[in-house]
Symmetry: C2
Subunit: 337 residues, 2 copies
């Protein structure tokens, strides 16, 4: 199998190298075609690597960072102070084409800012969006974006998110004419914010987009849309609320008698695992000229491994290149309409 090379920011997330390093070692053990640049503070990384197998270590390249960007710094000042930080070095490995994707569990705003600064958005895109896939009741998946890259989005950004989401649905879900919806607080035309009503108008004008209307939070998992478009604030609230609900149910189920408990977890688990933040992880920063994957900050080893696997899949499917290529033709066609 063709080699896949990832740059991993070892320092990001709530638990830093204590989660990222074991997950990286585990991934290298599972996937013999995988090669990883592990970017972090050498003194912190070294002790965590001493017991690792040599067959794994020969595909692991430590890159020494001098600092770590903490999530309490404003993205703007984080970028100024980012030189030789683990996150920036990991992104630079993608920029220099030494790695095919960068994975970080660091602060979303900073990752977005640095990625925009270093990798540049695609020609047709003003701001990248964070995208993930949700399972749905029709046993399919729904593309949702933006889930946190931009706390606010005007109508033009929402239109661009819709276009990117459509390409993802075509490429990753093999849906030739994906149904695009906007997340709103009601289904009627006059509902919600001005930016969303305006985006609906813009979407209706696009002949290349199959726009189906507004959807509410309650429809997130029904499969009524293939692509659900929202600003990063609402999308983040929706996704995290969903994750919280899964945790709540599993915890509640866990309070029953142990035999029941096991039964319930078994029954629910194939269905909920795709929205269980401990098992499913890795959102794609869409709209850049390079692949950037964001792990959620609270990821444990299993979740960070899932994000590594997500990164591998993204590279293997050449998602970034396909989005760029398709978007160029889609936008060109929509300009003509």
């Amino acid at each position: 199998m063709t080699r896949v090379t990832l740059a991993v920011d070892a320092m990001g997330g709530d638990f830093g190298p204590h989660v990222t390093v074991p997950a990286v070692l585990q991934a290298l053990g599972i996937y013999p075609f995988l090669e990883i640049f592990l970017v972090g503070l050498p003194d912190t990384l070294q002790p965590l690597l001493v017991t690792a197998d040599s067959s794994v270590l020969e595909r692991l390249h430590c890159v020494a960072a001098e600092s770590v960007i903490t999530s309490d710094v404003k993205p703007s000042s984080a970028i100024r102070q980012s030189k030789n930080s683990s996150m920036r070095l990991a992104l630079e490995l993608v920029k220099e084409q030494k790695a095919q994707a960068c994975l970080s569990a660091g602060d979303t705003g900073t990752l977005m800012g640095l990625a925009l600064f270093l990798l540049k958005p695609l020609p047709q895109i003003r701001r990248p969006a964070l995208m993930t896939l949700l399972p749905n009741a029709l046993d399919g998946q729904t593309v949702i974006l933006d889930i946190g890259a931009n706390v606010e989005a005007d109508s033009e950004m929402l239109l661009q998110f819709a276009m990117m989401g459509a390409v993802v649905a075509q490429q990753m879900l093999a849906i030739s004419e994906p149904r695009i919806a906007l997340l709103n607080v009601g289904q009627e035309e006059g509902k919600g914010k001005e930016s969303i009503r305006q985006a609906a108008k813009l979407l209706r004008q696009q002949s290349v987009i199959r726009y189906t209307g507004f959807l509410e939070g309650s429809e997130l998992l029904t499969g009524q849309a293939d692509v659900l478009v929202c600003d990063g604030f609402s999308g983040n609230v929706a996704l995290k609320t969903l994750e919280g609900a899964v945790r709540y149910f599993l915890q509640r189920a866990g309070r029953g008698q142990s035999s029941w408990r096991r039964l319930i977890r078994t029954l629910l688990s194939p269905n909920t695992s795709k929205i269980d933040p401990d098992k499913y992880n890795g959102a794609f920063l869409l709209g850049l000229s390079g692949v950037v994957i964001k792990s959620h900050g609270a990821a444990n080893q299993q979740a960070f491994l899932a994000a590594i696997e997500q990164s591998i899949l993204t590279v293997q499917r050449q998602l970034s290149q396909r989005v760029a290529r398709q978007l160029a033709t889609v936008v060109a066609r929509s300009d003509r309409t």
Copy 2:
């Protein structure tokens, strides 16, 4: 038991009188102290009442409306055209103190606009907020507001929501110093929208408020806050996402073998029922000089009955009066700080 008199907009919601009338008759049958003004189009209501028991009908007063406000009309024009509509007549019964509360499953924006116009906000409040209670993992409840009355909220509105929410937590949950949090996309100070960061500053300045910081969607059910404050757009997305997740789980659980299925539903049901939109319903429009309860539009008979019961409880607990009274002293005290 003291009489409770409600004004019910029979025409609101997706199913109108076909859901509201049976639920009203059921409620009158269960609660002998209940009296209801049923407001709607006489021709539609009459056929639904013919088989009703006389002991029930003597506590049911039909009020003839001439029109129904549909949810595809903009709230502003809905208000202009509202004369003698079922929603407006129901609200007027509260204004004229003939009923102690108004219940409607009609359009949220219109209900909010009409209620503001007819019942006026409390002196300290600029805009009312829609509030509900969520169950939490600590077996308690969390007050959440705004869940849809205002699609946008500035920092001052968020502060007022926090103050109203604090009173509800004190009065309904008997928590003397409720922990107040703001819904955001991260916990760090610099996160999220300007309005939320600004609201955090205002909240920190209030000596009468125990402000504990930002919470994310994933913490909605953890019980980390007693009051969760948000703008109506995010709150609506969060609540509806939660409702959608409950539906998804119950549906998924329902696909198993029938014996397992029953077991799972039994186990999950006492815990999930409080967020199951088919069983738990009725949000409170907080900050008005009168009691207005909103049922969700898709309510079935069981859910509309739950909203009637919610209205009864609100009247019996004198929540509106308590909020008004307490708010006056809270705001007076906070002015002095």
